[in-house]
């Protein structure tokens, strides 16, 4: 089936655009970048439709690393989980590539942007197709690299490069956990192949599996922006909006969820690790949702919303409802990509304005953007029959099955989600226009992807019955349908929408007075619980100051420099003594050489060469 | 063992006797040839047609005063002509003149000794040959001599490269370094000679070899080391009597060696140009008989009085020789000798012919020609030959 073509096509696009793009016209760059991704999508579609995926289908290419007991093959594998991810990544990726034509039309570094996007596609598809942990890790690190490159796309702006650095460094912590997990897996399983590892998982002691599970979870927390490593994701909005949509909403950040779901056979035997995932997930969901309530930057709102929704996915996989987690992953990819792209369209319309307070009344001016974003907002609020309802409901059902309090917190979070998303919608599209720019509708090349995603957000829940499709992959969980729970969560969503309407459309002053009433709480939430400041004080400052005081002034200046200088000084002294030998006279040199060779021959003779 | 030594000694005496006589008479032949090219009679006084001129020359050179200038480096001054002569004669040791013969029940080769690496031996000896000239010029402590020997050293080093490369290509065809086997590999007629045979006739190598050989022997048009109008007499300005004669003889010995090498490498050695059954064995008889008959005719109609007796006598000798070539007993070894001599003689004649015809080159032209034309041409020829030989095998 030549699975390697799927990631290789974007790689070719990256190489061509990256190496020669500077001299290409924009249309040629578009053709290469989008063509490669579209072909990749087509090939992936062919693979998914053409293969019988009830069993994993693996292709072996070559032995990558051969070292002692360690054998790493470069293998790609496809099963139904991979198929879902492939479709999401290539499909949404292709749409966002198209959207980017319009969004990036007036930006510098056009070829660079598309080259990086293609490179990202390559790594993401490698990650998804990988048949062992190390190849997955290659993709994992590669998407991290692309994320870094694209967050810092406006590298002449300080905050963008800082955000890129932050994302990179925070992710290192997670990767550290992932690496340890791989070492531990190899030590205990003797292999890193998925098939071999997951096949043996059932027979291994629970404590060991728990350790592996927790370490993998640490990696997933870093990549998927869970507590306490979520801090990089909101900052990552410094990148161009299509990047936010593709990498920081739809695909890369879900890699942690994918990896956790992929490792289900480890987790299923490590209940403690699963509990940890569920708890972290629900905590993140709730925590991020509260922050989202008070943000004024439209992209920040959706960023915290992303963190929150990723928390939902974690709850899903943590409760054993892996298929529900993946289901939500897919629907989230639809509506969150749409929200970001829509907000990008809004920002585009306002020539770069991102603050909600400077918007308003855009409903009539950019009608199509408004309509599509409404679809997404309803979907994320969990109102039936939009896509978000089905997946969120599946997760909440599983959560209730696991522990009722998870369900209740999740439901409250769902209400908050509906509230802040509609708050953003109402602030942006309703009321009077408060800005100064002259808004204009986005070009068709941006609107078509929006429309497609709107259709998917609205009907995706019906169109793609992911849990049933994935039934062959994951262990079946018998959870009875409960109309009451479904109703309650839907009502929570509706309540959130109503509250938002009340506060921002019906009585615009109410929000401010409410904020004044709970001033302390509002300040806390508005400043994101001062998490960045706490991290700064607790981690960053000690490291920086400690490095400066101890590592630099003591270790570096004292020991390392001292050693180097000392060596130099001694060498100079010895050289000064030896300089006397250097008479510049070749014949005396020859005499010394002769002396040396006599010594060597005598030494060899004495040492036993001759008896 | 004893017979081996005796045979070797006999062969050495015969070969060197013949060689030294040939050297002496080669000088006479050259003077005659050049004289006829220049439409004058040449040596004529001593003996009939000056035939005894070489004897007179030898007597003159031996009896001349042996000058030894006071400013020379004695040892090397004396060693140089000796060295030149020795090295010039040494190559003859490995040159085969003909096939195996039986004399008085003893089977032997018409060759002093056969080496597996005969060609390399000749090359080696000729490559040291330059010392004689270089040392002679240097030890004379005379700037003309020094200039002459410097020119000579540079020239001989330069022309040795195309010479070696030109030698290499026929070796590729014959696949041996032994001079005797080299001839064997070319047996069977002119179209089997290395100069003519496929896959790639070595005619170019032959021409390159001859040109380089002219330079190696310091012959016109490459006789810069002894260009008398620039350098008095070049490297042997300070030499006289027999020491001078040694240089002279070594030059002629080198010519003979080189001609022998050309014959062996390119012209099939002692092989007849076509097989005996088509009458190649009659060629010497016909030639000698023709010469004898012509002499008889001129004896009957003499221009001068004394020709009435001398020419018929010469004609009788020629006819006798023609008859001898018809004797089957001697034909087996005389025919190879005849063909070998004929080929060597033709090349020697070419040496003289060129000397009588061409002017001398300028020094920079000489070096430029070697490095810019001869060397690349020889290289190209060798490459092509190697390629075609590899292709064919």
């Amino acid at each position: 089936m030549q699975l390697w073509l799927i990631p290789a096509l974007p790689l070719v696009g990256f190489l061509v655009n990256g190496l020669f793009g500077r001299r290409f016209s924009k249309s040629l760059i578009n053709a290469i970048a989008i063509g490669s991704v579209a072909l990749s999508f087509a090939w992936a579609l062919r693979a998914v439709l053409g293969l019988d995926l009830t069993h994993p289908y693996t292709e072996r290419y070559f032995t990558w690393i051969q070292s002692g007991a360690l054998t790493i093959n470069c293998d790609f594998t496809v099963d139904r989980l991979t198929a879902v991810m492939l479709m999401v990544v290539t499909g949404i990726g292709a749409l966002i590539h198209i959207y980017s034509i319009g969004y990036m039309a007036h930006e510098g570094g056009y070829y660079r942007f598309f080259a990086f996007l293609n490179l990202f596609m390559f790594f993401m598809l490698t990650l998804v197709l990988a048949a062992n942990f190390l190849v997955l890790f290659v993709g994992w690190e590669g998407v991290g690299l692309c994320s870094y490159l694209l967050i810092g796309f406006y590298f002449d702006k300080k905050f963008a490069t800082n955000a890129g650095n932050k994302a990179f460094i925070v992710n290192r912590i997670g990767d550290f956990g992932f690496s340890l997990a791989m070492f531990y897996i190899f030590k205990n399983f003797g292999s890193l192949d998925f098939g071999a590892v997951f096949g043996q998982a059932a027979g291994k002691p629970e404590s060991m599996l728990t350790v592996i599970g927790l370490l993998l979870m640490l990696g997933a927390c870093g990549k998927s922006a869970q507590l306490p490593l979520y801090v990089w994701l909101p900052d990552a909005m410094a990148g161009p909006t299509p990047v936010s949509a593709l990498i920081h909403a739809a695909t890369m950040v879900t890699a942690g969820v994918y990896m956790t779901a992929r490792s289900w056979s480890i987790y299923i035997h490590a209940p403690a690790a699963m509990d940890a995932i569920a708890i972290i997930g629900i905590a993140t969901a709730f925590f991020a949702a509260t922050i989202g309530l008070a943000q004024n930057d439209i992209k920040k709102v959706f960023a915290y919303s992303t963190v929150s929704q990723l928390g939902y996915m974690f709850v899903g996989v943590g409760c054993g409802a892996f298929s529900a987690g993946i289901y939500h992953l897919m629907t989230h990819a639809f509506f969150k990509a749409l929200l970001f792209l829509g907000s990008g369209s809004v920002i585009h319309a306002l020539s770069g304005e991102q603050d909600l307070r400077n918007m308003g009344g855009l409903r009539k001016k950019i009608r199509w953007t408004f309509l599509t974003m409404m679809c997404a907002a309803i979907a994320i609020a969990g109102i039936p029959p939009f896509a978000g309802f089905f997946s969120k409901d599946a997760i909440l059902l599983a959560a209730h099955h696991r522990a009722p309090w998870l369900y209740w917190v999740g439901t409250i979070t769902a209400g908050m989600t509906a509230f802040y998303v509609f708050r953003a919608i109402f602030l942006a599209f309703f009321g009077e226009y408060r800005g100064h720019e002259h808004p204009h509708e986005s070009p068709r090349v941006m609107l078509v992807p929006l429309a497609i995603l709107a259709v998917l957000s609205a009907g995706g829940g019906y169109l793609f019955k992911v849990p049933e499709y994935l039934g062959a992959v994951f262990p079946r969980m018998e959870i009875p349908e409960d109309p009451a729970l479904m109703t309650i969560s839907t009502l929570a969503g509706l309540a959130g929408i109503f509250l938002a309407w009340l506060m921002y459309v019906a009585r615009p002053g109410m929000a401010d007075s409410l904020a004044g009433a709970v001033n302390g709480l509002y300040t806390l939430v508005y400043n994101k619980y001062f998490v960045d400041e706490i991290y700064g004080a607790a981690v960053v400052d000690p490291v920086v100051n400690g490095s400066r005081a101890v590592l630099w002034q003591r270790v570096d200046a004292g020991i390392i420099d001292g050693a180097a200088n000392g060596v130099g000084d001694r060498a100079q002294e010895i050289g000064g003594a030896l300089r006397l030998l250097q008479s510049g006279n070749i014949r005396s040199y020859a005499a010394w050489v002769l002396f040396g060779s006599v010594v060597v021959i005598v030494a060899m003779a004495v040492a036993g060469g001759v008896r | 063992m004893d017979s081996f030594i005796v045979i070797s000694v006999v062969k050495a005496v015969v070969v060197f006797g013949a060689l030294l006589t040939a050297l002496a008479y080669l000088q006479w032949v050259e003077r005659k040839v050049i004289a006829h090219i220049q439409v004058r009679p040449g040596p004529y006084r001593v003996g009939p047609h000056g035939l005894l001129q070489p004897v007179a020359d030898i007597v003159k050179l031996i009896t001349k005063e042996d000058l030894s200038p006071p400013f020379v480096n004695k040892t090397l001054y004396l060693a140089a002509p000796f060295l030149a002569m020795t090295l010039a004669l040494m190559s003859i040791c490995v040159i085969p003149f003909g096939p195996a013969i039986r004399v008085g029940g003893v089977q032997t080769w018409m060759q002093l000794t056969d080496l597996n690496i005969g060609v390399l031996f000749v090359l080696a000896v000729s490559s040291i040959g330059v010392y004689g000239i270089a040392l002679a010029g240097w030890s004379s402590n005379n700037k003309y001599a020094l200039l002459g020997s410097l020119r000579s050293s540079a020239q001989m080093i330069s022309y040795e490269l195309p010479l070696s490369l030109a030698i290499a290509s026929p070796l590729l065809l014959s696949n041996t370094l032994s001079l005797r086997l080299l001839v064997d590999s070319q047996a069977g007629g002119a179209w089997r000679w290395n100069a003519l045979r496929g896959p790639f006739p070595q005619i170019f190598a032959f021409v390159i070899f001859l040109i380089a050989a002219f330079a190696e022997c310091n012959r016109v048009p490459f006789d810069l080391p002894e260009a008398e109008n620039e350098l008095v007499a070049g490297f042997h300005t300070e030499y006289s009597s027999m020491k001078f004669a040694s240089f002279f003889m070594s030059e002629y010995a080198n010519m003979i060696t080189v001609s022998c090498m050309a014959t062996l490498l390119f012209l099939g050695g002692w092989d007849a140009p076509w097989p005996a059954r088509y009458g190649s064995s009659l060629v010497p008889t016909v030639l000698l008989a023709g010469a004898g008959l012509m002499a008889l005719y001129h004896g009957i109609h003499p221009w001068r009085r004394r020709d009435r007796y001398s020419l018929p006598a010469a004609g009788a000798v020629f006819l006798l020789a023609a008859a001898v070539f018809l004797l089957p007993a001697v034909q087996s070894w005389l025919m190879p000798l005849f063909w070998f001599g004929a080929k060597v003689g033709s090349i020697l004649f070419a040496f003289m012919w060129v000397r009588g015809t061409l002017p001398r080159l300028r020094y920079d032209q000489l070096m430029g020609f070697a490095w810019k034309y001869l060397f690349p041409a020889a290289m190209l020829n060798l490459l092509l030959t190697g390629f075609l030989v590899a292709w064919g095998s």
């Binding site: 250097q582 008479s583 510049g584 006279n585 070749i586 014949r587 020859a590 005499a591 002769l594 | -």
Partner: protein, 102 residues
């Protein structure tokens, strides 16, 4: 027809090598020093050929062949350097060419 002990060849090689070293040490003309190096190389070649005989393998011949090649290259470059030195310094005394120190 007595056979020659292998050690004689090697001793000859050693003697020639030592003479080369002596020439290198005690002679002052650059050219003679250079020639002493050639002498040492020749001595080494003799050892190679002798070992080749002793081991009944042709490899020693190859080594001495390569030594010759290197010696030829060395002679070409070395003599060119000597020419240059002489052109610039008007001397061939090796002790006068010690500007690397000063």
């Amino acid at each position: 027809m007595g056979s020659v002990p292998i050690s004689w060849f090697l001793t000859l090689s050693a003697v020639l090598f030592a003479l080369g070293v002596a020439g290198f040490l005690f002679r002052r003309s650059i050219i003679t020093v250079f020639m002493s190096i050639e002498l040492m190389l020749n001595a080494v070649n003799l050892s190679f050929v002798t070992f080749s005989y002793q081991l009944k393998k042709v490899d020693g011949h190859l080594f001495s062949f390569f030594v010759m090649v290197v010696a030829a290259a060395e002679a070409a470059v070395g003599l060119a350097i000597i020419l240059t030195v002489f052109r610039n310094r008007k001397t061939l005394n090796i002790d006068d060419v010690s500007s690397m120190k000063d």
